[in-house]
């Protein structure tokens, strides 16, 4: 399976066409094709995971095949073998232009099999969940077709062995997210949101394309392995690497919703909820982090991450953690809380990459996928069965813990994992990020991470309070959702609890380092040991966040000191408004940048158009007209036309003369004939021929 990894994205791609062409006639309207295809991809991905683990264990020499897996996870740490585990590459030449080969192929290593597993698992659960959630939908078949294509694009992006194929998958993901966010396009705000998502990510994609071109000219190849090897080789041009890293990172900013291009992500909540889960957990948004992890040597060397201090990548990640988390406080829409939470969590991953914590970033991507998908699907379950298709926490929810126990408890598990409470999945991955940030001289980012942890715990507490506690404020009849919805929730809750143990350092489990971190074409990274005081601090901070938020929200009936703060204190009020307006970033983009372009710059260009370009065009036109007139009067009329007319006249007159011969009288013709014969005979006689 490792060398035939192309099959995994190919299956959902074929499913896309099958669903599109035949889906409507089937009893489940195409859902069965999509589920079967993604299920097949999931099985193959699991096979690939086992084969990869087998390969690593064989290379490091302490295993006898798949049976070692069970022991591998639960046995004591085996230590990272020094043996290099080569990725499995299979590639064909697409076309060749001179000496440059353009290849299509797959490159499978630990990171890839992990992504394959996560993407196909989340996608499969979303497919199943959608059968119930989208049942009433008119364009049900179309929805499933796009889901399949979405999954296929992401899988293609994951297995790609060169930047061109990666770009194809990347754009495919963008296109499908556009179609799915705008699924309810009958309402204008939804199609606007889809357009905004598409155009904002496109802004970043320009950076990505330039980055691909720069790395191509730097390394002389589109092959990711060669680019990475070039970046790590001593002879690499640092300025070129820096430029390439910055441009690629702009692509990541757009795709992964990082500051300042994060504004599309909350608006993308206009799409169906399962799609939001897919976008935030498995496809689309994590694509940026994946790119950062895949081409890590470029960023590592380009941004001089080993040097410590502050770099572009860590800075953007750090800013995003805090601004995303703060914005989550002022949302009424439960999905928007989760959207800003995603922005903030992806910020953690980017920051981790920026401080050199590669496996921590990838680990957080892994755990985040489960609990974020769980939270989104939970929010979908709440709106589906509890709040009558509304997502407004303040007007349509509250008190839902009694009628919806499964949704409530799984949501709690997801929130605890997100907040990083021991022993849930998020604790292990977030802790690893913080530990590495503290070790490598990135202390500032350790602080940022802790602030983020505090805020995360607090806004999730607020979200849970508004949704599940207090009095029911909606007008529906809340009840528990059906098994098609709750079973995916339970599966994801299971992973949200246990997924962290795969890399739980204090228990001696460091499988991410062993299995996933590349051993070839990869910078040497530090792996700081588990730091108990830091872990205690981070859990304490998160607990404090929960406590403060609980005090504020659960006791707001009582007159706590924080109650009504925004009404009493003008500074707090201003801060609230500032957050509610999303730091005025949308205002900046729409009213200043876009309107500026539309207004003054447009007027300027209009003036330039009228007075410079038009003048040039007009004088050119006038000159051309005069020249044309001259040519017409002299050459055309006097030479060409005269010649043509004269020829015609001569022909006409000759014809006029000759027409008298053609009298139409047979006897005159005969006379001419005999006269001619007579003359001929006479000539023969006279000249005696």
């Amino acid at each position: 399976m490792l060398s035939n990894a192309w099959i995994i994205p190919a299956i959902p791609a074929v499913s896309f066409f099958l669903v599109l062409f035949f889906g409507k006639r089937l009893p489940l309207r195409g859902a069965e094709i999509g589920i079967t295809a993604v299920g097949a991809s999931f099985v193959l991905s699991v096979v690939a995971v086992f084969q990869w683990i087998d390969r690593v264990d064989n290379a490091t020499g302490h295993s006898e095949g798949l049976r070692a897996l069970g022991r591998g996870i639960f046995s004591a740490a085996t230590g990272h073998g020094d043996a290099a585990v080569q990725p499995v590459v299979s590639s064909i030449t697409w076309w060749q232009n001179g000496l440059v080969k353009f290849a299509v192929g797959t490159r499978v290593d630990g990171l890839v099999v992990m992504m394959l597993f996560v993407v196909t698992l989340i996608s499969l659960l979303v497919h199943v969940y959608s059968v119930a959630y989208m049942r009433e939908e008119v364009r049900f078949t179309h929805y499933y077709a796009m889901l399949s294509l979405f999954t296929a694009s992401m899988l293609l992006l994951v297995v790609a062995d060169n930047t061109l194929v990666l770009l194809v998958g990347w754009e495919g993901v963008g296109l499908c997210s556009f179609a799915l966010i705008g699924h309810f396009w009958e309402e204008k705000p939804n199609s606007d949101a889809a357009l905004k998502a598409f155009l904002t990510t496109r802004t970043g994609d320009i950076g990505l394309m330039i980055g691909i071109i720069i790395t191509f000219f730097a390394a002389g190849s589109f092959d990711i392995a060669k680019i990475n090897a070039y970046a790590l080789s001593g002879g690499a041009n640092h300025a070129l690497l820096l430029a390439g890293a910055v441009c690629l990172f702009i692509g990541i900013i757009g795709k992964s919703g990082q500051f300042p291009l994060h504004t599309w992500l909350p608006d993308a909540m206009a799409g169906p909820t399962p799609v939001s889960a897919l976008i935030h957990a498995a496809t689309m948004v994590v694509a940026g982090v994946y790119l950062g992890a895949r081409m890590y040597p470029v960023f590592f060397k380009g941004f001089s991450i080993a040097a410590g201090g502050v770099n572009f990548m860590a800075l953007i990640g750090g800013i995003t953690i805090v601004i995303g988390a703060l914005l989550a406080f002022v949302q009424r829409d439960i999905k928007k809380v989760l959207a800003y939470s995603t922005i903030s969590q992806i910020g953690y991953m980017i920051m981790a990459l920026g401080v050199g914590a590669w496996s921590a970033a990838v680990f957080h991507l892994f755990t985040h996928a489960f609990f974020k998908a769980l939270l989104f699907l939970g929010a979908g379950s709440v709106s589906f069965s509890g709040s009558h298709h509304s997502f407004d926490m303040k007007s349509d929810m509250g008190g839902l813990r009694k009628p919806m126990p499964i949704t409530f408890w799984t949501f709690i598990i997801g929130s605890l994992a997100l907040a990083g409470i021991f022993p849930f999945a998020g604790f292990w991955s977030k802790d690893e990020i913080l530990v590495t940030a503290g070790k490598d001289g990135y202390t500032a980012f350790l602080v940022v991470g802790l602030v983020g942890a505090f805020l995360t715990a607090a806004y999730m507490t607020r979200c849970i309070y508004l949704t599940f506690f207090g009095e029911y404020r909606g007008h529906g009849h809340p009840h528990e959702s059906e098994p098609l919805i709750t079973v995916p929730l339970i599966i994801l809750a299971f992973f949200s609890v246990v997924a962290g143990f795969i890399n739980a350092a204090p228990l001696g489990l460091e499988k991410f380092k062993d299995w996933i971190e590349p051993t070839v074409q990869f910078p040497h990274l530090l792996h700081p040991a588990f730091d108990t005081p830091k872990a205690i601090i981070s859990v304490a901070v998160a607990t404090l966040g929960i406590g403060v938020a609980a005090y504020f929200w659960f006791r707001r009936e009582a007159t706590g000191p924080l109650h009504g703060l925004t009404e009493r204190n003008s500074l707090a009020r201003a801060g609230y408004v500032f957050l509610e307006k999303k730091y005025y970033l949308d205002v900046l983009y729409e009213n200043i940048i876009v309107a500026g372009i539309k207004g003054s710059i447009a007027r300027g260009t209009y003036w330039f158009d009228q007075h410079v370009i038009d003048k040039v065009v007009n004088s050119l036109g006038g000159g051309a007209k005069r020249a044309g007139r001259f040519v017409y009067d002299t050459v055309d009329q006097k030479v060409v036309d005269a010649a043509v007319n004269d020829i015609a006249e001569v022909t006409g007159e000759t014809g006029g003369l000759l027409r008298y011969v053609q009298s139409g009288r047979v006897q005159r013709y005969a006379l001419l004939l005999f006269a001619a014969v007579g003359l001929l005979a006479l000539a023969i006689l006279v000249f005696n021929i």
Partner: protein, 99 residues
Amino acid sequence: MGLNQFLILSAFLFCTGIYGVLARKNAVLVLMSIELMLNAVNINLIAFSAFRTAVAGQVFALFVITIAAAEVGVGLAIVLLIYRNERTSDLDDVDQLKG
């Protein structure tokens, strides 16, 4: 009886035919004049054939008779059609092809 008498007869008939073709107005008479010319030629062919003991001339004459029959058949049919359409067989009135 020498060859010349035949040639003179032939020449006389031929000239009669030419006169008929050129001078007569009626299409049927023009056709008959053409027959006269053809027969004048036939007389020539047979005369030479007989006096020079060469059979080829007589064969040619047979051919000419056959072709003349066909020619008269087609010619009379055309004249009949012209008469039916134009109510005349006067060649001076049939001049639609004039330039």
